[in-house]
Symmetry: C2
Subunit: 107 residues, 2 copies
DNA sequence: CCGATATATAGCTCTACAGTTATATGTAGA
DNA sequence: TCTACATATAACTGTAGAGCTATATATCGG
């Protein structure tokens, strides 16, 4: 079973997809047409990327007539932040452990 | 040309490779043998992953006789943290802008 | 120098997936 | 209802890369 980290990293690994997400973060809600006009890939490709981003919880869609507006869901980045600080935490705790060890050896 | 984000996301996208990096963060320096015994893939696969991680700056290798010791380089995660806070920053600034707008409308 | 061990590289295969074109679905306006 | 437009889905293709086995390179012990 894929974890939240798995999904996030895999989703953000593709440059085109990440660029779309970045654009949504930067400039806010956008229609598929707007994103397609800007991206260097076809409209179906954009739709597919948006589908993957949506599946990962990174975007939200809002239907209005013929158009679909997509917007970034920043909260979905939480597991990424958690993972990073967890790695930093592990590192720090090993460092602390070493410090302890050195202190005890010193006595 | 691939950016630092590109390399990092792509490198960490693979679950096996990320697991190896996590292990190095958790338990510190490890030999290839130790990592292979623990991972669910062959020794060449582990070596290849370590090569990719090294290329991304995420690990460091230290040769000692026949063995190669690998350790995590936490600093390499910086661009990831930067990217995340940049995305959050964009979001925040758009929010601030909206706040401004509402304030001005209120007057 | 020789066998054993540790790691890296070579060469191959198989799969996941990003991209494409064509088409289906759905909505707006005349 | 007919046409134009907006998006999604289908079906296919090409390629990157993760995995394997076999082998090369290098170091240790005898």
């Amino acid at each position: 079973m894929p974890t939240a980290h798995d999904v996030l990293f895999r989703t953000l690994a593709d440059p085109t997809r990440r660029a779309i997400f970045e654009r949504l973060c930067r400039d806010g809600e956008q229609t598929v047409s707007a994103l397609t006009a800007w991206a260097r890939v076809s409209q179906p490709a954009v739709s597919k990327h948006l589908g993957v981003l949506k599946h990962a919880g990174l975007v939200r869609d809002r239907h209005q007539g013929r158009q679909t507006h997509y917007s970034a869901q920043l909260g979905a980045l939480a597991p990424l932040i958690d993972w990073t600080s967890q790695m930093a935490g592990f590192w720090q705790s090993r460092f602390d452990h070493l410090e302890d060890l050195l202190k005890r050896m010193d006595q």
